[in-house]
């Protein structure tokens, strides 16, 4: 990840270090934004906002947290707060997320469409469930790191992650029905 010395230099007022730091993290910032918001344009806007905020608030980072979790916290907050759209998020308790698939059996196509459908499905997750999934799979964060980033208790993180996966796997049931058994 990012070298701690770079962070220290940046906080000490070294503007070049700060800019270098931003360059090192910009892809991670964008990636999270992309998957939380679901489209490129919003992701570009949000991640630029996040980078600017990191730039201006660099001195508010305290070493007790991991730098990467601090960064991800900023990104996720911006995504959730500012760019919340009236998306048809499904209440995960009430509804089974069932998707009908019009696929044939071929596995390559299956995995291709599956991947796409999974993306759509993630997009429909409630935002906190979505954030947990994104941090887990796109940032490879541990439960603890996710908890730190989203400022959630560890058990809540697990609960969100397990629920999200539970719902997403029902998608696969359809594929299985359509493919293997159909």
């Amino acid at each position: 990840m990012v070298a701690p010395e770079l962070v220290k230099e940046a906080q000490a007022g070294n503007r070049d270090a700060l800019i270098t730091l931003l360059r090192e993290i910009e892809t991670h910032v964008y990636r999270t934004a992309y998957y939380i918001l679901g489209n490129e344009q919003d992701a570009l806007d949000a991640s630029q906002e996040a980078l600017i905020r990191i730039y201006t608030k660099i001195n508010s980072y305290e070493e007790k947290a991991l730098f990467k979790t601090w960064v991800q916290r900023i990104v996720t907050n911006i995504c959730i707060d500012k760019f919340r759209r009236a998306k048809p998020t499904v209440s995960i308790e009430e509804h089974e997320m069932v998707f009908t698939s019009q696929l044939n059996v071929e596995e390559e196509m299956l995995s291709g469409y599956l991947a796409q459908d999974i993306r759509v499905a993630i997009d429909k997750l409630p935002e906190h469930h979505r954030s947990v999934v994104v941090l887990r799979y796109l940032q490879d964060f541990s439960y603890h790191e996710i908890a730190e980033s989203l400022n959630l208790p560890l058990n809540t993180v697990k609960s969100y992650l397990f629920r999200a996966r539970q719902q997403l796997q029902t998608l696969l049931q359809e594929y299985q029905k359509g493919g293997v058994r159909g």
Partner: protein
Amino acid sequence: MNCQEVIELMQRQLDQDLDADEEHLLRSHLKDCLDCALMFERLQLLSEELTKLPKVAPPYSLVDAILPRLSEMDTQAAASDHDVVVAPASTAKLPGAEAPKKLPWTHRFGSYVSWKLAGGVVAAGLAIGTIMVGMEPSSSRNADGLLQPSSASKESAASTAQSANDAKPAAPASSNDAGISSMQVMDQSVSYKAAPASGTSTPAATPVPEVKASTSGLGGGEVQRVAPVPAEEPQQQAGPKETSKPLEAADSRPEQVNTQELTPSSHPVASLEPKDTKTINKGTAVEEPPANSEALADKPVNKAKVNEEKNGMFGIMAMPSASPDMGVEEALSGPLYTALVDQHKVVIRNTKTNDVIFTSSKVWTDADTIVLVSWSEDNKLTYQVKIGEQTHTYVIELSTQTEILVSP
């Protein structure tokens, strides 16, 4: 184990969160439970797909995209400190004493700031101060008194304005707006008088020479720098051309003026106010500017006056170094060492040999004020830097060759 519990294990297994025993439990259950086995298979497949989600990257460099905004922000941050400086400009007692607040991390951005501007504003403030010193401070507790300067200074000012009027072309008129705004203090009545007399479109020009004339004897070197000060308050008067701007200013000002400490009754110019808003549309240079100048000058005047009382303007005269130039500005001798301010940084020399023992890494600007406070018995130098309205105190300890900020 029931299936519900096993599903929990499955989930944790996907995150490598199971210990050996738990793994065993899971596997053995799955052997015997088809539903769970299928569920686990789906979960694993899902997890794999999630892992395979494309690691997208931005289509262009985001940092490059925001660099202009970052620079703008840095400039604005520095500039907004400037604006704070402009209004109570007269609180700048020392020439070259003003600067935007310098946080350590903004230290590099000093180059974005126009120091000429800062210097010019400071000089303007100094000019006010010196003028006010020349007046009777005791009687003027409020702007009222200020705006009614003693007749003596009024007359002399007016006469010098008259004579110097021709000498001063319109050139500084447009550029001296900002400086003028605070210098309007005692000038509005002057300009008011001078305006009809001169009948020119640049009554604003008159205060300039007037100020220069009266302060020339007081180290007017600084005042010279007023000229290049660019317009800070756009709604200043520079002739009928700028009617639109003063128009807005005048329209919005009346309420503000009234809320000032002015007692309209005793104020000669105040009676203009109601008239102004009506006559303003005629676009006469004569009537507008005084109203504007008076209106706009009120605020700085009040603050200036108050600050003067607070800070003891007289002290300015006593200040030794007015020079904005490089070179040694101050020295404080201790038993063993002497501290100097050399080229805007603190340098410590051995008193006897004059060798440099320590050079501060903190380089200030000619807009900051460095004051060498004292030497302690164990050879620690305490000094203060005044940046804008903040004073920072540092201690240099020679034994450890350290320099630390002790306050704020």
